[in-house]
């Protein structure tokens, strides 16, 4: 079935946005409760590797996702513990963790068999979506032919948007991020919310990594996340910390990457460096074009909350 150019570019855009979406939602949730998660990159890498490892060993892709979730829970707990218990700079902890997880995943990866055919996953998570609906021209395969993990993260974004504004727990989470002391006196357990949010954040980032190895390519390569975690942080920034803004920003980056490929493939004589620059230039343009009040950074973002013991 021959697909149109728009179809293929948009489809590629959605595929390439998905890792950003996972990591960005994770970063968003964490920041909402007042803790910077700068370890998104490392967590994504960890999820990519451990998701792949569990899937390879068990032969089951869902066990792979479980593996990624497990890594997310552990690394999220670690970040939460250090940030909350010790109240030290979350940025440096995040940076340290990125290096640490790069080392751990590379190390474990090298312990395994080195044959490229032995170490490939036999099958990948397929795209889901009703076949008939996919045949609708232009938007059919775009909307209905995506991967299940892509649908999942979009649903999660919607759920988060509703949760953070319309539910009591959501408002409590925001209060924790704005003014933890006041929240505490209002009876909200600040620590518990922060732990939960940071762990969830790490789980999401790890799943974003698992998306790469379980649905897109069937292998792991050292440092294969290649800066996606940082793009996710940029997307949160560009989206001014709102769920919709962040989601759209992630799509912008994915779209820009697809456009970048297209520019190269059209062989127009443009140096490839310009093509690779496209996502970054587009994001600055987007930032300048969308003005207005931001959802606002939580007032206590980054500030450690140390309860007197």
């Amino acid at each position: 079935m021959k697909t149109s150019l728009i179809d293929t570019v948009l489809g590629m855009a959605v595929r390439m946005s998905t890792p950003y979406l996972y990591a960005a939602l994770g970063g968003l949730i964490s920041q909402r409760c007042g803790v910077y998660n700068f370890a998104l990159e490392g967590m994504m890498l960890g999820g990519a590797y451990f998701g792949y490892l569990f899937a390879l060993l068990s032969g089951n892709l869902f066990v792979g996702i479980l593996g990624a979730i497990l890594f997310g829970m552990l690394s999220g707990w670690l970040l939460a513990f250090i940030a909350i218990r010790f109240g030290v700079s979350q940025m440096v902890v995040g940076l340290g963790m990125n290096t640490l997880y790069l080392g751990i995943t590379s190390f474990c990866s090298r312990l395994m068999s080195t044959s490229k055919t032995d170490s490939a996953l036999p099958v990948l998570l397929k795209n889901v979506g009703p076949e008939t609906l996919q045949k609708i021209p232009v938007l059919g395969s775009l909307i209905f032919g995506q991967n299940s993990m892509t649908y999942l993260i979009i649903i999660l974004f919607i759920v988060y948007g509703w949760f953070i504004r319309k539910t009591e727990k959501g408002l409590s989470l925001r209060a924790v991020g704005e003014n933890p002391a006041a929240a505490e006196t209002a009876g909200i357990n600040v620590f518990r919310y922060r732990y939960a949010a940071v762990i969830l954040s790490a789980v999401l980032a790890s799943m974003g990594g698992a998306f790469l190895t379980l649905t897109q390519v069937n292998r792991f390569s050292e440092n294969m996340s290649n800066g996606r975690g940082w793009i996710a942080i940029a997307a949160i920034c560009l989206g001014r910390m709102s769920a919709l803004g962040t989601c759209l920003s992630c799509f912008l980056f994915g779209f820009a990457s697809a456009i970048s490929n297209q520019i190269q493939v059209l062989n127009m004589g443009i140096p490839y460096q310009f093509a690779l620059m496209v996502p970054y230039i587009l994001s600055i343009i987007a930032l300048l074009s969308v003005r207005g009040k931001s959802a606002g950074r939580p007032a206590a973002l980054g500030k450690p909350y140390l309860k007197n013991r």
Binding site: M16, Q262, P271
Partner: protein, 358 residues
């Protein structure tokens, strides 16, 4: 200053008589010194081995990028481990040595008693050639290096023969007349050489064939490689050649999934798909390392200011057709390949390569 084009032309067109006479000339020029130095180097080697106490020769091996790239570095690393066992060497490896760190790393090894310092990255040869004179009793070596020094061994594949043949096969097989070439960057001299060779090969059998040349900017971002490959296929390419580190394998698998032909790079990747891999354009570092180490150990290979160029005929490069293709493709494809191979080996085929210095 050795001009890359000249070197390539020497190897390809003047015929091997010319290139072997270059090496022969270099050897004979140094031969007066060679006999003493051969003996001296062997004694040195033994002495060095004795001084380390383990009886092993201390060899250093450097690469740019990671060891586990399923391609250039992985092949070199594997070979070094085998050679270490075979010749009883004490090898120290250092990976991730970029062009900015290379001077320090090379100097460090040279000053720490390593008698043979090998660099697996061709672009380090200029750096190595500058440093070599500072350590006259150390032997330096660069895989695929295109400049050399008196105490340095640079052996280079000629960089285009095997890719030319890949182009011939691709040009014969393509129906859309669009070939895809994926490299790390599009303006490095090796990338431009690959483009010229692929195009020339394809157009020699199919005048309407064209090559779309794109860059990934990464050796390990597998998803980017896969998406770039997908873009090429959507654009109409039906044969794709990727040489960008670990992305090679992923690109080839993506091609197989989408029922498009691909050609392997550097090492033999023909096992990736029985139906969709045409062949592999091979220039494995292992070939060069074997020659270097055995030549160094028995003293027959000395440093020389002129790099040694080896192509298909010398066994350094190869275009290995996928055996499974024999029954699947028209015989005319293999005939064209045989003809081209002969032309390349006897020097009647010349390719206009991009002009780069040295």
């Amino acid at each position: 200053m050795v001009n890359l084009t000249m070197v390539a032309l020497l190897a390809g067109c003047g015929g091997n008589s010319s290139s072997s006479s270059t090496t022969a000339a270099a050897k004979s020029a140094a031969s007066a010194v060679a006999t003493e130095t051969a003996a001296a180097s062997l004694n040195e080697t033994v002495a060095a081995a004795a001084s380390t106490g383990t009886g092993k020769v201390k060899v250093a091996w450097i690469c740019e990028g990671i060891l586990t790239d399923n391609g250039w570095n992985a092949d070199g690393y594997k070979e070094m481990q085998e050679l270490a066992t075979k010749y009883n060497l004490d090898v120290s490896y250092q990976e991730n040595v970029g062009k900015t760190e290379a001077p320090d790393v090379i100097r460090n090894y040279a000053s720490e008693g390593y008698k043979l310092v090998i660099d697996n990255e061709q672009y380090h040869c200029e750096i190595m050639a500058e440093i070599a004179p500072e350590f006259p009793d150390v032997t330096f070596a660069c895989v695929n290096g295109y400049v050399s020094a008196d105490n340095m061994i640079a052996i280079t594949g000629d960089m285009w023969q095997h890719i030319y043949l890949a182009g011939v096969m691709a040009g014969k097989v393509t129906k859309s007349n669009k070939l895809g070439l994926i490299t790390y960057s599009t303006d490095s001299s090796s990338a431009l050489t690959m483009l010229a060779a692929l195009k020339a090969g394809a157009q020699s059998v199919n005048s309407s064939a064209d090559v779309i040349h794109v860059a990934t900017g990464s050796f390990s971002d597998l998803e980017a490689g896969k998406e770039m490959c997908t873009s090429l296929i959507d654009q109409g390419c039906d044969v794709i050649f990727c040489n960008s580190g670990d992305c090679n394998v992923t690109v080839m698998q993506t091609c197989a999934n989408k029922k498009v032909y691909s050609i392997g790079a550097i090492v033999d990747h023909n096992d990736i798909s029985a139906d969709y891999v045409l062949g592999s354009a091979m220039l494995p570092p292992s070939n060069i390392l074997k020659i270097m180490i055995s030549g160094y150990i028995d003293g027959t290979l000395k440093g020389s200011a002129k790099p040694i160029v080896m192509g298909i005929k010398e066994g350094c490069e190869e275009f290995r057709v996928n055996p499974t293709m024999k029954g699947k493709l028209d015989q005319s494809v293999f005939d064209a390949l045989d003809k081209a191979t002969k032309g390349v080996e006897d020097g009647s085929i010349k390719v206009e390569l991009p002009k780069t210095s040295k």
